[in-house]
Amino acid sequence: MQQTTVQPVIRGVRFFLAHTPGLVRYGSKPSRDIDRDPAVGDTLQAHLRGYADAAAYPPNQAFLGAIHPDALASLPTPWFRHAGCGERWGPHGEIMPEEEFYGWLKIADAFNLVSLDTDFIESIRPALDAHPLCTPADLEQLGTGVSQAELDAHCAPGTGLAGDMPTLPLFLRDGSRIGCFHAAHEVDATLAADVLLENLTCKTTAVLAMRTLLAQLPIDPMDIPYVLNSGEEAVGDRYQRGGGNLAKAVAEMSGCQAATGVDIKGFCCGPLHALAIAGGLVSARVFPHVVVVGGCALSKLGMKYRGHVQHDQPILEDVLAAVAILVSADDGASPRLRLDSLGRHTVAAGPSQKAIFEQLVKEPLQRLGLSFGDIDKYATELHNPEVTEPAGSGNVPLLNYRVIAGLAAMGKEITPAQVPDFVAAHGMPGFSPTQGHIASAVPFLGHAVDGLRGGDLQRVLLLAKGSLFLGRMTQMADGVSLLLERNG
């Protein structure tokens, strides 16, 4: 057995966005509110934006690599009024219209959970056929669909495929019904239609991010031996709720026939935990390549819609987001994943922001002999403030950057008066959709890899926090950090 370790690197990162205004009603907050008051559905629909606006939306363009996040700081606000030209494909991925995404949902459906209207399928088939990631086998999986009369029967109370378990009608933004989503069991709540819709959208978006990654990087999908899924979905039935495994399902649909995989759970810091584990597996020569994926969080669609409606702005949480990251052995060019930099928010550290950031930033930097200013960019919670502020949730990235700058000031590295300049130089405006685990650190990875490989970046610190308390098993939060640095 070889005893030496190798340096892991991030070979590439790709993202995927699906613009899904028709699914906003199935976000957790909107669906609960609609259950209480069906008129909320009309209010929601009146505030949904079209695909062209979502594609042109500057934060989405930053997410897909078409503009740098720093460029957002100089754009007039509100960003949703920006009338720029929104290209579907950016350097780091695409934003897909909802019609095609419903087709991919059917393509990814291994259990006939999705029924789509026959005419609708024929209307989207040419676009799917033209999509660079769609294969003839995918088109076959699309099937021929069902009639509107059959959809009526499926959606009527008590007449769905799973008895009394409700079937969810699937709508486009304009309210037209184009299909339905079935429950998979007569009584099992973990296989209810709303749960399975969350899981299947998560799988579908992760597959599209991973296919984009494998199509655009010079690597054969058959050379991928292991996949780590880092999403927050709960895959499993009543006997193992949330047991997983979505990683292998994503590998199966991504042409990775030689792969297996496993799910890594850590709330919003799941992807960074997964990156550290992937780096460890590569470093120890267990695998030459590991792909870390994270699919979308459908439940977060429309999470802040009340604030958006109150301010008469479009509902901006209308996209599903996913990421795929290739971690490989050192190729001499890709950014190095410094496993010796790993920062951990330990059990003993306590819940104060100072304690958290000392463990995630100050201590790792001291260990490596670096100062705060040696990090070109800190990638932390990158939630788009235009989503959160109208709902009273504040500017989350700015809060985090001020704490980091405050620690630098406490260490006498900068003066308190220099805090705003430090934040502007070493932070960035938030630009990520509020898609759970997707929004923490990883949205900047594409820009980080570009800047560390061929740009002017030397070091990027990724840090993410996870709200463990949400599961009611502990009052604690969690956090991890990792340093990326230029190779050579």
């Binding site: 306590g350 819940p351 504040g394 709200s467 308390f469 009052q475």
Partner: protein, 42 residues
Amino acid sequence: MQLQGKKIIALGERDGIQGGAIAQCTASAGAEVVLEVTHCFV
């Protein structure tokens, strides 16, 4: 503010001041923490 003998509900936020931090501070000042909750708004 005199916290000695007061009952405290500690409502925290993950990216601001977490409930645990509020609870520790107020308990050290003599208050009784009757509820400690941290929310995540993203």
